[in-house]
């Protein structure tokens, strides 16, 4: 193809996709019938400013701070327990998903993992609130269900990439399958499994903070409650707590990763 021929069609394609994009955006705004004038007009700005002003100053009275602290602790606990349970379930599901128990078990395990993974945490939370009632326990189960799907898939992939020689040599010496796995394959995959688990825990801390919107405990419950009563000062304290928690997690994970050069992810 000559250069001259290659030039214009490419540009036509650029223009076409740009137009398509613009049309999609315009259609989106039009379909939603967003009150753009109301959102960005002068009155909206002053309304918004007044609304934002109501969030300040945040409520820093000791009793409320204690309440927020407890909710933050609850959030941490939900994320920790949810991730732990997910890691356990993920490990159990990863064994068949890596094809260790035959191809039928592999297919079933992958189907289960995909199902667990594709339903978002918040949807799991609404289901779990039905099953376990309002409160942090439902949050734990919701996080565990979604994360088990994610971790199971990652764990299974790690398992598939491990050289089988170590485990085979133990099987050849008469060891059982569980024991051979624990002595040969587990030490090979455990650093990777641990890294995946920590990474998911980090994400789950943030997620646990908002699961409360559907009644699954933690900071989210508090925020939902205060906002529905139009207690903006209290809500702003909770939002600040969320920001702080998220920043702390960032710092901790950066520190952990810098501290251990061998741990990649």
């Amino acid at each position: 193809m000559s250069l001259a021929a290659a030039g214009p069609p490419l540009c036509r394609r650029c223009v076409a996709s740009a137009a398509l994009l613009l049309a999609a955006v315009a259609a989106s705004f039009a379909y939603l019938e967003l009150p753009l004038g109301e959102l960005f007009g002068g009155r909206a700005v002053s309304d918004m400013a007044r609304f934002v002003a109501r969030f300040f100053p945040p409520d820093l009275s000791p009793p409320f701070l204690a309440k927020v602290g407890w909710a933050a602790l609850e959030t941490l606990a939900i994320s920790l327990l949810g991730t732990l349970l997910a890691a356990l379930a993920g490990a159990v599901l990863a064994l068949p998903a890596a094809g260790r128990w035959g191809s039928a078990a592999r297919l079933v395990a992958r189907l289960v993992l995909n199902g667990l993974r594709s339903v978002p945490e918040l949807v799991w939370a609404t289901l779990m609130v039905l099953a376990a009632g309002l409160g942090p326990f439902a949050g734990v189960l919701a996080l565990a269900a979604h994360t088990a799907g994610v971790l199971g898939r990652l764990f299974g992939e790690a398992l598939e990439n491990v050289p089988p020689a170590a485990e085979r040599s133990l099987r050849e010496a008469g060891a059982g399958s569980l024991v051979s796995f624990a002595y040969a394959t587990l030490p090979l995959v455990s650093p990777q499994w641990l890294a995946y688990g920590l990474y998911r825990w980090e994400m789950n801390i943030r997620m646990a903070a908002i699961l409360g919107f559907v009644g699954a405990g933690g900071l989210g419950t508090l925020l939902y409650y205060e906002l529905s009563l139009f207690h903006e000062a209290q809500a702003s304290t909770v939002i600040i707590a969320m920001l702080l928690l998220s920043a702390l997690v960032d710092l901790a994970s950066a520190w952990l990763r810098a501290d251990r050069p061998g741990r990649r992810l």
């Binding site: 020689a165 085979r168 010496a173 060891a175 059982g176 394959t185 090979l188």
Partner: protein, 278 residues
Amino acid sequence: MAAAATAFALHGVDVVHRNGHRALEGLTLAVRHGERVALVGPSGAGKTTLLRLLGLSLAPADGRFEMFGSDPWRARAGELRRLRSRIGHLHQNPPIPPRQRVVHAVLAGRLGQWPWWRSLASLLMPVDCQGAAAELARLDMAGRLFERCDRLSGGQLQRVALARVLYQRPQLLLADEPVAAMDPALAELTVRLLNAEASRRGVTLVASMHAVELALRHFERVIGVRGGRLLFDLPADRVAPGRLDALYESDPVGASTRPAQARQPSPTLQPCAVVSCR
């Protein structure tokens, strides 16, 4: 030959791989308890297949095969596992996870004999440090019991693997090219150690060897395999150079029909040259 003294016996055994390749043909062979046997032969001759057959990883397609006086492939699963736990394996590359500590790597030798709960408990709290330490001490590795395996050199790791297989207290010890990756001095040392430990404990030893000269020097009995068949089976001091020439004689037609193996030919050629010089 008294039946009680026989470690294993093969009578007209064929092994056919899944791809249809006939790796062993009509093999007849008996080895008594406590014998030390070297398997020699060119790459692709069937040495590894024979070792896997003896290790009860492969079942024979045809013929009679007896291990410790019973047919392993007629035994039930539990019995097969018990038979396997009496057989030790030494590999060219020690199959030990790098992050495992030496103590667990050695204790892993007896996983086939321990109940599962004892094996798992040992991971938390090593159950027989003394036993593992004793095996390591014999191999000049006394102080390394609680080190991680990735801190050891290749030769040390090989000795950990040897300590593991000795700790297993097997009645039959199989070694597939145990020294192929070592420099000559270390290879000599390891083969001597292997034979010394085997004869001290009365363990039957079967090792495939690329270095023919080493095999002749340290083993009692040498078996030549080629193209899946037994070429000779002689005491080490009666293996004539002509036999070895025939064993390693290059055979382009035969070589091309055999499956290619990712091994360097030099270790086989070099001892061959040494032997024919004598």
